[in-house]
Every structure is written in structure tokens, then in C-alpha cells.
């Protein structure tokens, strides 16, 4: 059974841009074990492709403080602007 992954991994490209990839996306991207050999084969042939340049920065989980800074945004609902 697939194990859920909490948090995210962080990649960096050659221009210094960061990419935060959620664990849920990794779960979706998991390759069946029987297909690993095919992936290994293609990995061996990959040269010069843009993704070669990505650097693995580590894994993270948003801190409670960071999540809290988003959670509790003012309750809102669409309405007409009153200055017309």
C-alpha cells in the first residue's frame, strides 16, 4: 500500500529558482517496482536534458507558524464594491 508522504521536497534550477514539490505529488509520481528497470535504462541515456541541472535541496514541512500565517485569513465572500 502506498505510504503517504507529508511535507515536500525542494529542488533548485540553474538560475536559482526553487521548486517545492508536495509529498502528495511524489505519491502520484511513484513508479511501479516492475518499471524501475525501464527508468534506470532511460536514466542511463539521459544527457544534456534540462532537468539534469536540478539540484536537490532537501525536504521540508511548512512550520506551524508559517501555516498559521496563512490559516485564519479574514473570512470573505464576494460582493459589490460600494463606491459605485
Amino acid at each position: 500500500m502506498t505510504q503517504d508522504i507529508s511535507g515536500a521536497i525542494v529542488l533548485k534550477d540553474t538560475e536559482g529558482h526553487y521548486y517545492v514539490v508536495p509529498g502528495e505529488v511524489l505519491t502520484e509520481a511513484r513508479v511501479p517496482d516492475e518499471a524501475k528497470a525501464a527508468v534506470d535504462e532511460d536514466l542511463g541515456e539521459t544527457t544534456g536534458f534540462a532537468f539534469d541541472a536540478f539540484e536537490f535541496m532537501g525536504s521540508i514541512a511548512p512550520s506551524p507558524e508559517r501555516v498559521q500565517s496563512v490559516y485564519g485569513s479574514p473570512r470573505a465572500w464576494p460582493d459589490f464594491a460600494q463606491d459605485q
Binding site: 517545492v20 514539490v21 479574514p74 464576494p78
Partner: protein, 230 residues
């Protein structure tokens, strides 16, 4: 056109933690969007997912929404579309929130991440009430929203109408459309709200609204908003 189906979800058995949790989260069918649903969301910015939770959760949402209506208030925050007075055809919408909705909000964060591919976290969730008439002005969600999940909590409202052809317009320009008597607010892409699932939308990108109509009974939409903490 929602193109929804039960096959849009990969359904798994509830985990032990979920079963041991609250009534709301225990009733969530722990599921992931299918590859087709993810592809549809990626290309169109919206998708409808049925059967995300059980009838028990739906009943808990309806009970909580009904109970909180008496204390609902019109919020001061939210998208504000400038529309000519003669074209303001819907009343302001009072909102409220409660623990069942908040638990559902948190529990669906993983679904939102799998759907969007982005590290999103809950920002806010509310019930919006329509006691006599339904309708939401054409608008874009604010920067508190990258993705919104919408569901019918109580009663029945009409479909949300998306206007991808208006993507890129400012709120002022959207107000010009709503102010124009020739504008047909129903002339877009309808997106229905399931009662046991969600309509997922990139609400800050795709203009959307609900044309005014009468409702037969008190109705409420639950809106669960998510945004990136980075």
C-alpha cells in the same frame, strides 16, 4: 460542463487514524484524484469530484450550516466588483464557520496538493448563505486563494458559471461587464456543486459568478480556500 464521474477518484479504505478521528474526518473517503481529473484540472483550471466524503459528513455539514445561520454576518473582506447600482441584482451574502467545516478544510489539503501539484495549505473556509435568492457577482478570488473547493452544504443553488474567456481582466473590467445590460451572466461554462464532493477551481485566475435565481429553501455553499505559504 463538469464531466464528473466516480472514476475521477481513486478510493482507498479509511485509515485507522481517520476512523479514530472526528465524525467529519472519519467520513472522508480517503481518495486521490485520478490522472484524468488531474489532467482536466491542469488544462482547464477546474474539475468536479464526486464521492469525496460519506453521507454522514454531508449531514454533519448540513446540520452545522443550518445551526450557524442565525449568527452569520456579512463579511467586510472578499472580492469587491464595482457594478452599476441598477445591475446589483443579488443581496450581500452572510457567512459563518464551524468546527466540522474546519476539520473538512484541513483534511482535504492533501487532495488539493495532489490535484494542483502545489504545496498549498488551508487559508479560510466559510458557509455562504442564500435564504431567499441565490447569486454571486462576477469576480476573481483574492490573493488568499490559489484554489477553492466548493460544495453544497444546505439546500440547492445553481451552478457556478466560469468565464475563462475573461481571464486576465481586472475587477474593474469585470464590473464593466456586469454593469452592461447586454451581458449574460449565464453565458459561460457551468460548474455544479456536488453535495458529497467538491468543485475545485483556480478562483483567482478564472472569473466566475452565479446568476441570480430564487431558492426554494435556505441554501448554503461551503467554500474552502487554500493558498501557498511560500
Amino acid at each position: 460542463m463538469s464531466g464528473r464521474s466516480a472514476t475521477d477518484m481513486v478510493v482507498e479504505q479509511p485509515t485507522a487514524a481517520a476512523v479514530a478521528g472526528s465524525a467529519a474526518t472519519a467520513g472522508i473517503r480517503r481518495c486521490r484524484p485520478s490522472p484524468a481529473a488531474r489532467a482536466r484540472f491542469r488544462t482547464s483550471g477546474h474539475v468536479t469530484l464526486d464521492d469525496v466524503w460519506t453521507r454522514t459528513v454531508g449531514d454533519a455539514l448540513a446540520e452545522e450550516a443550518s445551526r450557524l445561520f442565525s449568527i452569520a454576518v456579512v463579511p467586510s473582506a472578499g472580492p469587491r466588483t464595482p457594478v452599476a447600482a441598477l445591475r446589483r441584482t443579488v443581496a450581500s451574502t452572510p457567512v459563518a464557520a464551524g468546527p466540522v467545516l474546519e476539520q473538512l478544510h484541513e483534511a482535504l489539503a492533501g487532495l488539493v496538493r495532489a490535484l494542483s501539484g502545489r504545496m498549498l495549505v488551508p487559508s479560510f473556509a466559510v458557509y455562504g448563505y442564500f435564504p431567499e435568492a441565490d447569486g454571486v457577482v462576477l469576480h476573481l478570488d483574492t490573493d488568499a486563494t490559489d484554489i477553492v473547493l466548493l460544495t453544497t452544504a444546505l439546500g440547492e443553488v445553481g451552478p457556478l458559471v466560469l468565464h475563462p474567456d475573461l481571464e486576465g481582466l481586472t475587477p474593474s473590467q469585470l464590473g464593466d461587464r456586469e454593469s452592461d445590460p447586454r451581458w449574460d451572466p449565464g453565458g459561460g461554462v457551468p460548474l455544479s456543486y456536488p453535495s458529497l464532493g467538491v468543485a475545485a477551481l483556480r478562483g483567482a485566475r478564472i472569473p466566475h459568478g452565479r446568476p441570480p435565481r430564487l431558492v426554494a429553501t435556505l441554501s448554503a455553499v461551503a467554500a474552502l480556500h487554500y493558498r501557498s505559504p511560500y
